[in-house]
Amino acid sequence: MISQLRRQNISDHIDLKELASEIAGIKWKGNVCDCPFHDSVSKTSMKYYHNDNHLHCFGCPSHQNHFDAVWFVAKFNNWNISRAIKWLEVTYNIKRLKEVSQNDEVDDEEEAEYLTFAVVSDIFIKWMNEQNFDTDKRLRLRKIYWDANNDMLVLANIIGKTTLFKMLEESGYEIN
């Protein structure tokens, strides 16, 4: 799981308004701008809130309209949260806090980079539906799934490498 502390640390060090201009070429009119994630007629659907350094888009779907620096970078580049955090820490020279979860080490394994979280997530859900889990286990795995937070290795470890690769092949993905 991604450390909330690392994410907050990034938010504390980066001015999101400047970041949005730098990576998405956003032109501000005061504290409002054209949202880069949807076509807006008004061109002023996104607003910057200085007090807690976040952006809010009034035109994007409700689950995806509240941006901190990490979520903005992840969505703009179509990256997972983990990759966005690493990129921001390196690019803006933000000292990484020591509180790092165990999975971050696993996360560095580049061999799995070619698999996207979306693919593994779909396989995980399919796998869950094929299993005859009792209610308790199903609810526990559901929590793990949402906690995985775009970290596909968490899900991959639960399914197991052999089963995962077998299911990927069955779904038409090429395994190198």
């Binding site: 007090n51 689950h63 949402w146």
Partner: protein, 225 residues
């Protein structure tokens, strides 16, 4: 969306009720029945409000003068809430605390008991809003799992959550208006579940509890579940 910690708001409301020796459930039930113009006995409404932890936030609390509909995340943590303000300016708004480091779907009515029932029955009744959840629970006697995605549509994130819970069948009881019925038609074809579309006897399930005849029709409609 306002940045107000819903848990603190909940606790402050609880403290106020306790300080003034007022039973929050009695008081909230009375107000809710008045607000929705329901003809239902308070004793039937109370269990639904209690289960969903819906309460009235008195005006002494800021922000107050609103009904509080808690929205729990997948850890049963109160990270969001919908506030429904009444007069003088009736409107709804979402409040949130600190930003979560994960994305999980927003549901109203996803208490642990309901999730367990969904996983056991492998089916769920979907309605549009919090008041509709309460109305259906009243009509169904609180036992059948009812959820609201806070809108007309089960988005991809909601669908994934239901799949994770093992859901095979979804019963859609959306508002009986053009938007609701169009959405139901589209979802009947597109959702990855068996979909049973139900036609609401009134404009929405909550409105069914305003008139005796509509209430009976709703109970009859839901009795087949």
């Amino acid at each position: 969306m306002k940045s107000i910690n819903p848990f603190n708001l909940f606790e402050r409301t609880k403290a106020l009720y306790e300080a003034e020796c007022i039973d929050w459930l009695d008081s909230s039930t009375k107000r809710f029945i008045e607000f929705r113009n329901w003809i239902v006995e308070p004793d039937r409404v109370k269990p639904a409000l209690e289960k969903a932890m819906v309460r009235w936030i008195p005006k002494q609390i800021v922000p107050g003068g609103a009904f509080f509909f808690p929205i729990y995340d997948h850890h049963n943590f109160l990270s969001l809430a919908q506030l429904r303000y009444l007069d003088p300016d009736p409107h709804k708004c979402l409040v949130h605390g600190s930003l979560p480091d994960h994305l999980s779907p927003w549901w109203f009515g996803n208490d642990q008991e309901t999730l367990i029932r969904i996983a056991e029955l492998r089916k769920v009744l979907i309605v549009e809003g919090p008041s509709d959840v309460l109305a259906c629970r009243i009509a169904l006697g609180n036992s059948y799992p009812v959820l609201s995605p806070l809108g007309k549509e089960l988005k991809e994130i909601h669908q994934k959550d239901l799949l994770l819970l093992g859901v095979k069948k979804v019963q859609l009881l959306l508002d009986f208006d053009k938007a609701g019925q169009t959405s139901a038609n589209i979802q009947k074809e597109s959702l990855p579940f068996r979909v049973q579309r139900m036609i609401c006897p009134s404009h929405d399930p909550s409105d069914c509890l305003i008139v005796e005849s509509a209430m009976k029709k709703l109970s009859k409609l839901l009795s087949v579940l």
